[in-house]
Each structure stands twice: as C-alpha cells, then as structure tokens.
Symmetry: C2
Subunit: 613 residues, 2 copies
Amino acid sequence: MQLKGEVTVVGRFKRLLIGRPMKSAEIEGERLTKLKALAVLSSDALSSVAYGTEQILIVLMAAGFAAVWYSIPISLAVLGLLLILILSYRQTIFAYPAGGGAYVVAKDNLGVRTGLLAGGSLLVDYILTVAVSTSAGTDAITSAFPSLHDHRVLIALIMILFLTIISLRGITESASVLAMPVYLFVFAIFALIISGIIKYALGGVDAHPPEIGAAVSNISLFLLLKAFSSGCSALTGVEAVSNAIPNFKQPANRNAAATLIMMGAILGAMFVGISLLAYWYGITPNPKETVVSQIADSTFGRGVIYYIIQGVTALILFLAANTAYSAFPLLAFMLAKDKYMPNVFMVRGDRLGFSNGIIILGILSALLVVLFHGDTESLIPLYAVGVFIPFTLSQLGMMVRWIKLKPANWIIKLVINTIGMLTTLVITLIFIFTKFGHVWMVFLFLPVVIWIFLSINKHYRNTADQLRINMEADKPVIKGSTIVVPVAGITRVVMQSLSYAKSLTENVVAVYVGFDDEDIERMEKKWEEWNPGVRLIVLRSSYRSVIRPLMKFIDTVEWKSAETDHITILIPQFITKHWWQYILHNQTGLMLHAYLFAQKDVVITTVPYHLNR
Amino acid sequence: MQLKGEVTVVGRFKRLLIGRPMKSAEIEGERLTKLKALAVLSSDALSSVAYGTEQILIVLMAAGFAAVWYSIPISLAVLGLLLILILSYRQTIFAYPAGGGAYVVAKDNLGVRTGLLAGGSLLVDYILTVAVSTSAGTDAITSAFPSLHDHRVLIALIMILFLTIISLRGITESASVLAMPVYLFVFAIFALIISGIIKYALGGVDAHPPEIGAAVSNISLFLLLKAFSSGCSALTGVEAVSNAIPNFKQPANRNAAATLIMMGAILGAMFVGISLLAYWYGITPNPKETVVSQIADSTFGRGVIYYIIQGVTALILFLAANTAYSAFPLLAFMLAKDKYMPNVFMVRGDRLGFSNGIIILGILSALLVVLFHGDTESLIPLYAVGVFIPFTLSQLGMMVRWIKLKPANWIIKLVINTIGMLTTLVITLIFIFTKFGHVWMVFLFLPVVIWIFLSINKHYRNTADQLRINMEADKPVIKGSTIVVPVAGITRVVMQSLSYAKSLTENVVAVYVGFDDEDIERMEKKWEEWNPGVRLIVLRSSYRSVIRPLMKFIDTVEWKSAETDHITILIPQFITKHWWQYILHNQTGLMLHAYLFAQKDVVITTVPYHLNR
C-alpha cells in the first residue's frame, strides 16, 4: 500500500484532489469524442465572440459613429479569413495525423530554428492566454460584484488553481466539467442572435445606424486595417485542434477534422450574428458595458435571460484558458521529445496527462497575473502577435510541403495555404505596425526563448556523447576503497556507521574535529578505551567550523589515494519520529552534504539512524 | 583557499557583507568596554525618552488639560521605580556574574518552568522590540517625507536587514557603528533640557499650566494607574545589561554594574527633564506632532538645531532594536545550552556572534512587520507586558535567593528586591486590567512557547538516552552487504556506478524499470551483450512510475536479506558544469532519494558523475 503513496498524508491529499492513478493502458479511454473535443478545444476560439465585434467597433469609433457600418464588411473579411484558416488547418490535420501544431509543421518543412520560433511563440502564448482569460473572467465577476474588486488577483489565482487541478485530473474528466458551460454559451448566444433577428425583422428596434456604403470623411486605410486586425483577435485558438490530434479517439484525424469544421461553423455564425445585431441595433462601444451585454439588454431587457447570458459569457472567458491547458503540455512534450526542453515534460502523471507541463503553465500564468496585478489588458496585442507568427509559419511550412511532395490536387492545396499564409502574414505585420508599443517585447523575448531551446539541446547532445560507451572495451573496473567517517562523539550512531563501513572495507578512518586541546585529549582517550578497531584522526579547528577542517582532510585523502581508491564519506542521518524533530538534528550532516556535493568528487553515503522516541 | 569559502561567489559576498572569519581566541578582543556597552545595550532604554512622557500625557488628557500637572508626580514615581530596578538589577549582576537574565535567575531560584516562562516571554519580547522600533523609526521618516508613506513596509524591512548585517559583523563593530548616534541623542536631549530650563528661568515661556496640586474633578485612580503604567513603558530595556555580562571586558560584573548605573542616571535625568519641560511649556499631546518635537520647537524654533534633534530621535528609535539583537541570541544560546531550544543556536558564527539567533530574530521580526503592514502600534502593550512578566519573576527569584543563602546585608537586599517585585507585579496587573483587549494573546502564546521548550527538551533527553552506548559491550559488528544499482540504460554513468559497487562487495544487483515488453526485451539483450559481470533484474511498470516498482523491489530485498546484510541503494548523480544544467538531469534520482529517505531503512549512496561540457 505504501508504494502507491497511500499511506502518506500528501499521497492521500493528492489522490483526493486528482483521483486514483491510472495504468498506461487506460490511455485509450482518456481519448476524446468529437463532442467532448469541441468542449475542451474550442472554448478559447468561441470565447472570442464575447469581445471580437467590440474590438472592431472601438477602432472604428475613432472616425465617428458614421463609420460603424464598416464593421459589417470587416466582420465578413474576418469570416473569410476564418474559412481560409479552417481549410488550411484541415489540410494540416490530414498531412500530420500525429499532431500538426505549428512547431511540427514548421520544423518539418522550414528547418529546426523556424520550428522553434513557432513553438516558442506558442508556448509563451499559452501562458498569456491563461493569464489574460482568467483576468478577463475576473473582471466580469467584479463588474457584477464591485465589492470583490480588491480581491481581483486572488480570484484569478483561485481560478488558475482550479483549472490546474481539473487538468491534472485528466483529459476526459476536464472535458466533462467543461462541456456544459461551452454548450450553454453556444446555446445562449444563438438564442440571443435568433431572438435579436426576429425582433429586428418585426420592426421592434428603433435605431438608425448609418447606411452601408455611406461616405465617411475621415476614414483611413490604416484605421480599417487596424479594425480588421483587432477583429482577427477573435481567431486565436483555432490552431488548438490540429495540435491535439493525439488526444482524439480513432480515427483521430477524421474526428479532428470534423471537430475543426464544427468549431469553424459555430464560431463564424456567432461572430457574424453578433456583428450584424450590433450594427442593426446601432450599438456603440462603451467602457462600462460590453457590446454583448448591450445587445442582450436591447433584446430581452434586464431579466433572467439577460443575467444568464452574462453569467455564461463570464464563465466561457474563464474557460478559454483551458484550451491552453490542453495544448501547452502537449507542445512541451513534443519539444522535450526533441530534446529542446527538459526531460521532465515527457513524464505522464498519475492521470495520464503531462502533469509537469500543466503545473508549470499554472505557475507561470499565476506569476504573470501577480506581476500585472490582474491588469492583463496590455498583454492582449502581445498575445495576438504570438498566435499569428506561428499561424504564418505553419502555412508557409505547408506550402513548402506541397511543392516538395506534389500529392494529388496539390495546386489547390498550395493555393489555399498561400492565401492563408499571406493573410496571416499581413495581419502579423499590421499588428506590429499599429501596436508596436505593445509588441516590441516579442522581438527581445523570442530570440531568448529560442536560445534557451538550443542551449538545452546542445547540452543534452553533449551529455549523450559523454555517456556513450564502447560495449566491447568499457567494463566495470574494481578499485580499492577508503571510507571516511566523521564522528562527533562515541554514540550508537557512530557505532552503526562504523559497523556499516567495516562491513564494506578494511580501509576505514574516523575523523573528529576538536575545538581545544582539552576536548581533543578527552576524545582520544575515550576512543582508545572503546577501541572499535578503527583508527581515529583528530583535527583541530580554530574557527569553530567543523566543515572546513573536514574538507581540508578530505582533500588530503583524495590527494593520497584517489588514484587507487574510491573515496566515500559516510554521513549519519537521524530519522526522527516526528517531522518537527528533524530540525533539531542533522544540521552539520546537511551542511557537510551540501559542501561535499558542491566542491568534491567523492561518493557520499548517508546511513540512517532511527530515533524511536 | 576553497576551504575558507573564498572561491565561491557566495563566500566572497558573505565576506564582503560581514567581514573575515575570526579565530575563537579573538573573542576577548570582541568584549565591550563600559562606554561601548552603554551604546549597544542602552539604546532601547534611552529611546523610551522619545515617547515616555507623551504616553503619560495622552492618558491624563482624558481628564482634561487641568490634569496634566499629574505628569510631574507620575514621572517622579517612574523615576523611583527606575531607581529600584537599577538597584535590584545591580544586585543580580553581582549574584550572577555569568549573566543573570530573568531566565537564569528565575530558573535557578523558582524552578525550570518559571525560568522558561521568563525566557519565553523575553524571547517573544525581543522580536516585538525589533518590529515595533523599526516601525516607529519608519514613521519618523515618513512624517518627514510623506511621499515614502507607501513604502513603509519596505523601509522597515531594509532597516531590519541593516541591523541584522551589522549584528552579524560582530559585537564591537556594531558598537562602533551605534555609539555615535546614541551619544548624539544623549547630547541633543541634554542640550534641549538645559536650554529649555534656562529659557523658562529667564521668563521666556508664555504658558499657563495648571498648578501642581490643583483639584481635578474627574480624575480617577484607574486613570492615574493607567498613566503610570504607560509611563513605565519607558523602562523596557533596563534588563539588557544584566543579560549581557559575558560580553563585557574583565572585570565583567563590575563593568556591567557601572554601565547599568550610568544608564539609569542618564535615563532618569532625561525622562524627568522632558516631563518637567512639557509641564512648564504647557504642552498637550498631539497626534501630528510629538511632545519632544513641540518642546524643541518652543525652545529653539524650527531651525537647524530642531531638525538635528528630530533626526537623532528618529535614529535612536531605529537603533532601539539593536538591544534586542544583542540580547536575543545570548538568551537563545542559554536556552539551547540547557536543551530547551535547537542546538543550532549554540553555534558561534564567523564573527563570533551567535549568527543563527541573529538571523532568526531578523526573519521573525520581518515577518511581524509584513503581517502588520508596518502598523505595529497595537503591539506596544503586548510588548510592555512581555517585559514586566520577566522583571517580576527575576525579582521574585532574587528574593528567594536572599532568603535561602542569607549573605551579608541580606535583609536590605531582600527589601530592595521585594519592593521591586511588588512594583513590577502591580504594573503587570495594571497592564493586564487596563489593556486586556491588547494583551490577552500573551495568555495563549506563552503556554505554547513553554510547551515547545519542554517538548524540545524531552526530545533531546530521549535522544541522548537512545544514543548512549556501553563502552565495554557495544562494538562495531561486521555484516554482509547487498548493493542495488538502479540503471536507466547502458551508459558511462552506469559503468562507473557498477565499478564502485563491485569494488565494495560481490553482492551487486542492477535493476531496470521497463514500460513495455519490447523495451524490456531490448534492455535484457543489450545487457547480456555488454556483460558487466552484474546480474540485471528487470521490473515492469504499468503506471509509468519508475519509483514505485523500485520501492517494491527494495522491499523484497529488505525482506530477504536485511537480517544478514546492510542494504545500500546506489544513486548516480550528475554534476553539471553550469548550475542551470542541473535542472535538466537528476529528477528521478532526487525523487528516489526523497522516497527512500522518507519510507525505507536503507543506506543511500550518491555517486557523482561529472559532465565536462
């Protein structure tokens, strides 16, 4: 029982939190059906509906109310881009059935460094996603309950903790938890759109938006591009499905493709629907009330339905973070498999998820929330650039692939990916030019991340070279042994350590550090009297330090016999009955351990001594 | 060189901060002359002058301006109490030349538990002293520079850090740093008092305080007692000298007694002087300006002298904390020597101070400052009770001593200590009754502290019993050895580990944990091919954990051969060239180490493997 971590308090708490450990073979049961996948992987993309239209309108209002009609063609352009992205990611899914995130596609077709650029960009982006979306969800809560405003950071952190635990419980379990709110959100928004259209069709709306095509004096191409790019922030999260193919039930790629198309259709319909209603109802952005809230208010009034829509919207903004929780650990796993990230990201946890990736994502996003005191709005442009760079690279990778492999219909496929690449490239450039003040960090940050990846890789390759052996020539060699046993007196602990040492070799030396002559003489006399069959060497310390004279002595031993002998230092360790008693012992042992480990090339052996009371 | 911690960055930084290590024999040079002792040990007591009179006036003002004349008799009563305390502590110094803090005196005469009550009370009190006085000093700074108000906690923490470092540098060095401000403060206050008296004598003051003896309608005994006890908070810190006798130059007790009397004379003169001036100048307490500031303003106007007085006062409030820095580590040392606190408090550091006590005091008081956001005013009554409990116990102990030993003139000595005991007891009771809302915590906290002391003591005594050996009968016993080497593949690390293990015993087993049949088969084949002369045992893990199957295997080995063999687990440890590379390796080794340490009774040996690149 002890072996499964059941007996310890920590083990029991862990099990309560994340559930029983699962066998590796159970992984098939953890895979996702299409409907569950939609819930886990689309919350990020779908939640964009809550702010996409608003982002466009905010930019357009700079040219006055007359310009709001541009939101309709711009929304259609975003819809067009969404179509292109869906089509081109569908192609990626079939081309990379083992999971075709931007990292894999770019690495495969454009070389390792480009792949790392895409991968690093996405990793950073997932962290930003969690920070931004939990902060946004918190804002929705504190708008409803202003008294909670002072606890914003705490609320966001609790949310991150909740998402982390849910993710640690495993993929299907988190899908079950998440499915309901996602479907509720989709249902609520569609109900809103349909009711809104009916109300408008029946002439129940009394607004006079500017006619479509009306001349606007001070509109500029720059402004329109900026509005378009702002609208494109609604497309973040679309790539999640193609990353996550390994999590789907078989046939994984067909299921993933179907999920992607479902998601695209729902997202497109909701986005255009909200934009249309906003235009018809003559709604203008208002810092105190979101566009969706205004539409819901105009359609249903402030009744129960209004509050349900608001509540579900807040929920989905929170849950958008969950997409990152499924994508980040997978991407980290892929980078670790290729030796660009530490090995720990390859370990599947008790519930078969990549626990370390999940935990690191939780910690880093929590850090961001704390650093920005929950005001993560300034991170949004950064986050959008972080998505569109890998979008572009992934499309470019697919283009190269079609040209190289030339499969059936490759011209059509190439055209789709080329259009996709050009559009996402343009959007990336627009982001950079229109919001340089917010995104310049990317140009410092990404090179650092890539440099880290490459350093890790170089280190792992170097290590592998150093560890490789020649199976013919390299065999274990037997040498002599010298064991040094530091002693602090004559006690049962010392007796046990000496028993152990003498069982291994004849070459055992006990060392005692004394502070004055009297002390030293007494010890020497007592040792002679006890006569344990081991030579005692006594050192004198003028600086009250036990460590320094010992280190010096070990130096001497090394110098004299490292050629012929393995040198082992024996450190007794008290195992106390209660944890708090531990701080009452072992300090010198721990210090010695740390010093030896940091400075000496010797073997360190800890011999446990159990205190029963 | 490496041995003195010089080579490491940490070592060099430590040396820069606290200075070169000192030999144990240098301790005589670290002892204090009378003048330096006055600086180190009296800052707490003398700083009380900055607020003592004010505390009295604040209470009296509850009965109206007419009642302020009571401040004169009350100040004289405080002066009387000071005289008693000085006389009785002087007796203690000669009776306990090795240092007669309340802990020692109470333990010696009233039993261990009473001693622990006094000691625990003082320990807690020193922590409060540091927190309260750095916060008070910070308030003085932020009164002058209101823009710093938001950084109060940070300023207090920096001050604590500064005091901690100064104390770690050693006693005489901190005395040199502290002497100047203490003497400046004494000089400034005496200059103020003398100038103030001259101005008053020359008729330069135009105030009309109520005449002494004038009838006050609504004065009550309760109010007078409260005012008296508030004034007594000026006496905290008087006990510092008798604690610190071991830090004095020889003849230590004569020097200590002389220092105590100097301190008492200075403190008494300053306290009564300030109280007199406050009365003559008709000053009333004002939350925005301290009494000392008002007197200085009335005497000198807001010129350079005024600002010097204010600056020096702020400084002394800060430095009051330093008394605690010299007293806390000494008291912790005494408690540790008697086995009521962890051994670590007995270690003298590089600069011969008790570094661990100093560091713990810094950490705990910093924690208090952070917890209370620098608003430590509510701690003041707590702090006063914490001082008067050991005052009382110490006097009571002296009374018992005189009755038991009956030395020459013991009746006079007994009378002095009896008066002292009764007065401090009454003050303690007044504190408890008039400020119960602030001090009730003491009654929860002190029993807990004493319980901790007793638990630690019991544990150390138990340990000593368990470790004691019979020098005749108990000798080291030689047993067999089994060494288990967990391996993750066939690499140079494994080769080295096996070489080490085979050098010690024939009984070596390599263990490999495989995740599937294919994996296991491949490893078995490679091992056979390599043929290192060690048996390989292969375990299968269904839960992807390497640790659990290993722990189970070690259980089996223990069960089979713990009777006849010492069982050793060999864990290879990568020593990387750069510290950051360390996180790329060793995870499984560390986990295994932690699990084995917590759950198994086996010897753990770490074999270092150096990566050169």
